[in-house]
Subunit: 473 residues, 2 copies
């Protein structure tokens, strides 16, 4: 029996959302519970939409409908873990941010630095940029003969990923010859696009991105699950954590629905001028959750028009921070700067290591007082102290606490933020699932690269106002 | 002769600031040159302050007054590069962000992954957090016998760094015995604080943080230079680049002073509601420049009161992004979201590698059109296209271009941003060199850890409003 099948394990691992420090009585311009009650109808309507639109939010079913896929992935990765030395994800956006965040959370913090026998699996590289220096450096540190590339693009038309595929295809043909396609696993749409054509033609191993699952909502499908399983993460437990949170967040009562309440509070904060949303994990393991969330929140809610065609220019800007590190970088601004942000702390009850600060330098009391405490106590005291300092200076914050960082709690966290984002989209009456603002830059790139059919865009670029020399120093 | 002594090298490596896309005629709510002219007196006064206060800005002299220290560092690191396998920086804030940024910019992008003979120096770890899982994982991947720790804290009272020092002192004593102090290099004040006492008592190698050089302005003193030199970076050229930019930025005419103009434009943008400052390098090598700048800008300008005691709650919030990666994460928000941000692109003319996208999959035109281009052309086209898309949607941006990423241009960049920040401080009439807002959290941490003398703070914490259960879900 898996531990997540035990109810007492699940209850002990429930993550908690604490929003005291957003409320009146805690911060000067805090939210009064009456404001939340006054929005009762709005919140209920949004909750009803989450139910009625569930059929279109296919990503919500991922924790429930993938037992067959999980078995396939686990069967596939057994061989990879044993024989391959490098597992390289080629993908960008959601195809990279999810795999990075989950790997950082659930693998050894210096996974790639460990000797092979402690890793029990290949080194992991996630390549989400096309910097030529980075591409060159990748080929210098991997051994193609012992590398599997996981090419991930749902559409099969992502320029960055397809350029990378061309590079590794060529390199593999030179290095391993006819077996080149055995070194590539494609994760893409089951039907549409260029990558599935290529995968079928060359008989590559393939996993599918289900219909209705967009990039930033795709971590819990094979996009994220394959790399996680390759690195030894229990993906069944990850999905079970997400399923657990999804159930919790079916509660239509906002006072008992952490996703809905967090979304509603952020929107009330936006109305108070908080156009900035800082996520500050107090754990290195959760550092890249803030990157993953940044895409989810920015790309889902950053919209010029609402569902009725009104110009709204919505969107709170996500900011990534790390505790305690950024206390020495950003907290000066957070406490003394403008009242324009909400800080969301991610806290951990029990770290997976306990490290004591040894006694020493006993004749120097300002150093010696640290001895005998643990680093655990130190980081948790600093988190508490920073929360306190930010509240005292009149700024809002909330704290999401994981009892421990494990696949079950990380699955909950992913699902919590996805539901919070979708619900915020309903409150704003915008489409949280498209990204029309990305097209302009894509098309301009195509025009610059001379892609057939982009002559008009090229002409438009050429006709843009000429830069003035006096504005260049 | 070093190449930076050649004037034609210096001129060819001058970095450029292009602010066309902040100006009227380029963006809808752009800045009119007349606005800049209207502020002539203000800008001239701030420029005069930069001259009159130069004696207090000791960090400005670092490019000019360290030839002896550079020689000492280079002599010291020769042995370290040859014999030591791991060089671990223990520091936080400016003691970490500078070393990380310069290492990422100027060393191989996968430096730690390279075999020893290609690195020609030890692996580098910069430990700027006290997460117990991270501390435990560090001790798992290094070999203490072949490790040098560079402990950096000017005050000698930074809890995080001193806790780390206690940990490694104890571990070294157990592993290498009496020689333990030979594995520690202290970088601290030459006179004040606990670390210098410890360093002298145990005869550790020591480098000094000069008087008047605060953490976030310390990269070009031994705080940053030692780790850089250990990794084979030409620190003389780095300083020469900074000296070159310092000279350029002595020009009192804002139209010819890139630091002053950038600061003035950002302040005009703040007046238009742009409380967010995004830095988006189009180069993996410059990724952590955005982190370094984030501290510089946030901690320097995030101030509750001005020099006359008025409550101002100043400070633009820095946001870190990476091109092209974040086109698939943040650009949707940047183009369609609120008009609340300025994007500063960091661009590169010549990357240090040229990588061709090979031809392939010729029967699929939507993939094949990429073949024959270079990754260089791809990333530069995307930078151009993103700048275009952001401008077209009416949002402001500027672009700082490095002809190449090398020590000379990185030195310029560091100096440019430092001067821009100091000048912005003058425009805001605030103290850009203190960080009073950090004290509250520090003191609360001391109280929680039972440091002698913090009983009153502990009592204050205990008397804080009790959290309410209904605000925890």
């Amino acid at each position: 029996m898996k531990r997540f099948q035990d109810e007492s394990f699940r209850n002990s691992m429930k993550i908690r959302v604490d929003f005291n420090n957003m409320m009146e009585g805690f911060v000067s311009n805090g939210i009064n519970p009456a404001e939340i009650e006054a929005n009762e109808v709005l919140y209920a309507e949004a909750a009803a939409s989450m139910v009625s639109k569930r059929g279109n939010m296919k990503w919500r079913e991922l924790p429930f409908n993938q037992s067959k896929i999980v078995a396939e992935i686990n069967a596939k990765v057994a061989g990879i873990r044993e024989s391959c030395e490098y597992f390289v994800v080629l993908g960008i956006g959601g195809s990279a941010l999810g795999p990075i965040a989950v790997h950082q959370a659930l693998c050894h913090l210096r996974y790639n630095e460990l000797p092979r026998e402690k890793r029990n699996g290949p080194k992991l590289f996630v390549e989400d940029n096309v910097d030529p220096e980075r591409m060159a450096s990748l080929l210098e540190v991997i051994d193609l003969k012992n590398t599997i590339f996981n090419v991930i693009t749902k559409s099969g038309s992502t320029s960055e990923t397809m350029a990378q595929l061309l590079l590794v295809t060529d390199a593999l043909k030179k290095e391993v010859g006819d077996d080149w396609a055995k070194h590539i696993v494609a994760t893409t749409d089951h039907n549409k696009g260029n990558l599935i054509k290529i995968a079928r033609e060359f008989d590559m191993d393939t996993f599918y991105v289900p219909d209705g699952v967009g990039g930033r909502f795709s971590e819990l499908c094979p996009v994220g699950l394959l790399a996680a399983a390759v690195c030894g993460i229990d993906i069944e437990e990850l999905l079970a954590g997400a399923a657990y949170m999804d159930k919790l967040c079916e509660n239509p009562d906002i006072w008992h629905n952490p996703a809905y309440m967090m979304a509603a509070l952020q929107m009330l904060a936006v109305d108070r001028g908080c156009n900035i949303n800082v996520m500050m994990p107090y754990a290195d393991s959760l550092k890249y959750m803030a990157d993953w969330f940044a895409q989810l929140w920015a790309e889902s809610l950053g919209k010029a028009v609402d569902n009725d065609g009104n110009e709204v220019y919505a969107g709170q800007t996500p900011v990534k921070a790390l505790g305690v590190t950024d206390q020495h970088s950003q907290v000066q601004l957070y406490t003394e700067g403008p009242f324009d942000k909400v800080v969301t702390f991610l806290a951990v009850d029990n770290y997976r290591s306990t490290v004591t600060i040894p006694h020493g330098y006993d004749h120097i009391p300002d150093v010696a007082f640290l001895g005998g405490h643990t680093f655990n106590k130190l980081i948790q005291s600093e988190q508490f102290a920073t929360e306190y300092a930010i509240r005292k200076s009149g700024h809002m914050s909330c704290t999401v606490t994981l009892p421990e960082v494990n696949p079950f709690t990380v699955g909950q966290l992913l699902c919590l933020f996805e539901l919070m984002t979708a619900y915020a989209g309903e409150l704003l009456n915008i489409n949280a699932f498209d990204q029309p603002g990305v097209e302009e830059g894509k098309n301009a790139t195509y025009a610059l690269l001379g892609k057939p059919g982009y002559d008009a865009k090229k002409a438009e670029l050429d006709a843009a106002p000429q830069k003035q020399d006096r504005y260049i120093i």
